[in-house]
């Protein structure tokens, strides 16, 4: 009988843990998402760096800001893969950090026509840029992630 109980406990533990793991894995396969958008840098831009931002919505609005240092006079391309992001997450890019009086909106995904959840932006002027992911509140928690790839022109 002890054996039955042990097996039952093991099966339940594996089942519950597995269920949660699958949920998490399904929400963000970062490598796949990155590989999907890397060709968007070709042929003129080379991969520089990337950021995977994991998102979990809540009853509060959230803003996740990424500071991106760019070298003056260089050409860059920002590529976002928002396929695995929760619904209605908006991408904005500013020239200054939050709170600065000279902060200007340079790009908004709201005004861009995304193809399969992929957004592309090339700044006219390269200086430090501030990416904002505006994550609206939801009644039930949604998980996902947003992939950002930075490319530079040689």
């Amino acid at each position: 009988m002890k054996k039955v109980v042990t097996i039952l406990l093991a099966v339940l533990t594996i089942g519950v843990t597995g269920a949660f793991k699958t949920q998490d894995d399904n929400s963000c396969d970062a490598a796949k998402l990155k590989n999907e958008v890397k060709p968007k840098l070709d042929p003129d831009f080379k991969y520089d760096s990337s950021k995977i931002t994991r998102i979990s919505t809540s009853s509060d609005n959230q803003v996740k800001e990424i500071e991106v240092p760019l070298f003056i006079g260089e050409k860059y391309r920002f590529v976002f893969n928002a396929k695995a992001a929760p619904k209605d997450v908006e991408i904005e890019i500013y020239n200054k950090p939050n709170g600065s009086s000279k902060r200007k909106l340079m790009y908004s995904s709201k005004k861009d026509k995304a193809v399969d959840g992929i957004f592309i932006y090339e700044p006219d002027k390269s200086k430090k840029m501030y990416i904002n992911y505006n994550i609206p509140s939801t009644s039930s928690a949604q998980r996902g992630c947003l992939v950002f790839l930075l490319g530079y022109k040689i």
Binding site: S49, V63, Y152
Partner: protein
Amino acid sequence: MKTNTFRLIAITISTAFLVGCGGNETQESTDENLVNDTIVEVETEQQVDYALPSPLRVANMFKRAGLPFNSSLMNSPKNIEKYVSKDVQKLNFGVYAADLAYSALNNQNQDAIYYLQSLSNLSEKMWHTNIFSSVGILNRFEKNIGNEDSLINVLTDLQMQLDGYLDENGLSHNAVLIFSGAWIETMYIGSQVLEKEPNEKLNSILAEQVGVLDNLLGLASQYKEDVPEDLTKDLEKISNHFDKFRVKGDDSDDETEENMSFSVEELNALAKDITEIRTKIING
């Protein structure tokens, strides 16, 4: 015995069920909050993260600004034996990554191969796996010698592989140490050359590193549990040399920041501190 066993099974099933339904509990309380939020106001949480350029990108900027090749300025691959602790290995992984980029961008392919091998060895030591073996970096590099664009593609894939490995394994904090090593190495090479031969463009690229350093310090503070205090203090010491480029702060006009450079005295002082930190790192 039977009653106890069934009781145990019942408790186990109930516990598993409760754990499994944790998400719904959260959902219910979230729903309640939302009802309240419509009356009060939805809070906004703000989080900041920092991106860093790749060592290849930084080395590429320096090269384009006229940084000549000088093999004596690089860290010898033989020093790898000195690197025993994980933190020292991570820092020198960065140093070798910078030397790899510096040598490859200057067509010093044999040196580049030594550094690729050093990176593979350090990867084995740090993470018990050669993270580059799956994409056959070394073979691809050897096959593409003589074709600069293809070599850059190989090094780019190496960086993407590293970024992916750190992210997927919850090791993003390692990037702070790796990038610190790489950045200090490139700054060392740049400042050593600049001390001997004035170069306005290179000087300006060196000064522009203020944005990169600020992000590096931002990440170091985010992962302060995992970043040695000594390293943060050393980076802060270097950061003081860049203060004059921050005077106008975030509200400055873009145009006023485009002519940044160090005076000879400032450059000598920066080079001295960079050399000190770099020596500490490569000596393990």
